[in-house]
Amino acid sequence: MPESITLKNVSKSFGSNQVLVNASLDIPAGKTTVILGGSGSGKSVLLKCILGLIHADSGLIKFGAESVLDMDEPARMAMMRKLGMLFQSGALFDSMSVWENVAFALLEDGMKPTEAKEIAITKLRQVGLRSAVADLSPAELSGGMKKRAALARAVCHEPSVIFYDEPTTGLDPITSDVINDLIIQLQDEYKATSVVITHDMHTAFKIADKMAFLYKGSFLSDGDPKDFKDSKNPYVAQFVAGSAQGPIEAAV
């Protein structure tokens, strides 16, 4: 049973830099929620707050029935077992081969290496990587290959909640679409709760059941993707259209 996630008035600053300001959002169970927002608007920080990797200053974050900010260590580990996270940077372990990265959670659970490697190779194929890639080290992969290997690692233990921080950034349009289909397929197959950060409007509208727009640390708008397409909100409209003209000023 996948978990829903609730954010209420979550705030986080780094020194004088207020990154999240009373961000509130409901992320429904078993659905794909896409978070949109400009560069530096706090999307990655928001994901890390949900995961407890960054401790939010105030507000309420619920993962299923549990409050993330009040979790003790065993509860946090239990939560981590249920989720998969694709980092924006990939964050592959560079001291291990690609397949050891992908199968990391399985190996840690005590699965036999031969068995784990087979599963890892299957997952690598799903993200469009040849099995020969399995024995390479992450340093030998291209940027897009790293991203896909990291994606394979994030979903290898079949988590019920999956976070994707820009899964298609840096990929060619065809591979991007393969990844989109994979996200949809994972969501159909395991009824996983998916949270996807993306700048890619094609991806966003293809996979989203729900959309939310983060601007300067709070959610300006959230709801049905159809409403986003012809949104009356000038900020959202400008972002979706990808236009330089409008209320949002591009950081120069």
């Binding site: 260590e73 996270m85 964050a91 233990h157």
Partner: protein, 263 residues
């Protein structure tokens, strides 16, 4: 600047230094307490310990033994020069070499070599893992990075340094022997006998206690500064420098206090 401002500023900057020092010490102690807590709940060491033990122990062997060998030789040369006649030197040189190696130079020089070789590498590795989000990734894969990365490294340092030091002591005494016999012309039989007679239990224990504590210091400084690294490549560089410098200073200061406590 006003007159009183000029008077106050040295005091206030000293105050800042002291505050920073106290804060650092506090943070390091907290980190160490977490280490102790996790060690007691020993469960998941993941074979990481063996890997680290090989790195800290086995791979440090050549450099530690090489320095020990020449240290023993130098001790023999220097102490010989201090004696008026060869008869006195024949009795005393082996004693000086053996006791200096066991009580002081074996542990201290061994620790400094390991700190520069292992401490810097560990801090750089953990620092890189921190800034490239690999430590965060461990967390999301339900592995406690403290247990997986920090504990095995500190434990490896604490267990491997004493072993290295035992071998370094032996090799240092052998170095002293070779210099005494082949360069200074002392009797080899006398050397062995006098060196052996000079060593007491407490010398061995003191050396090993030091080695365990120095090992803990090296592992702690390396993992602490690596784990808390920030700010990209520059942050990793800083963590590496800090790991080595803090460890070296802490080793030399604690050496004094351990010795003073034993004597």
């Amino acid at each position: 600047m006003s007159f009183s401002g000029a008077l106050l500023s040295p005091a206030s900057s000293l105050g800042r230094v002291v505050m920073t020092f106290v804060q650092e010490c506090g943070a390091i102690s907290l980190f160490f307490m977490t280490f102790i807590r996790h060690t007691l709940g020993f469960s998941s060491m993941h074979g990481q310990f063996a890997k680290q033990a090989e790195f800290v122990g086995w791979q440090s062997l050549p450099i530690v033994l090489l320095t020990a060998f020449f240290t023993g030789g130098v001790l023999a040369l220097q102490s010989y020069a201090g004696f008026d006649n060869a008869v006195l030197a024949g009795g005393q040189v082996p004693k000086v070499v053996a006791l200096s190696m066991l009580r002081e130079l074996g542990p201290v020089l061994g620790a400094l070599m390991v700190a520069s070789r292992v401490g810097s590498a560990m801090a750089a590795e953990l620092g890189t893992m921190r800034v490239t989000e690999q430590i965060d990734a461990l967390y999301t894969l339900a592995v406690n990075p403290f247990k997986y990365l920090v504990m095995p490294r500190i434990l490896a340092c604490m267990t491997m340094l004493p072993l290295l030091v035992i071998l370094a002591n032996l090799v240092g005494i052998v170095g002293g022997y070779l210099v005494s016999v082949h360069i200074l012309g002392l009797s080899g039989h006398m050397y062995t006998q006098n060196a052996y007679a000079a060593i007491g239990n407490e010398d061995v224990i003191l050396g090993l206690v030091k080695a365990v504590i120095f090992g803990a210091i090296i592992g702690l400084m390396a993992t602490f500064h690596g784990y808390k690294a920030g700010n990209g490549a520059a942050g990793v560089g800083m963590a590496t420098t800090r790991a080595v410098v803090y460890a070296a200073v802490a080793i030399l200061i604690s050496d004094y206090f351990i010795t003073a406590w034993f004597v």
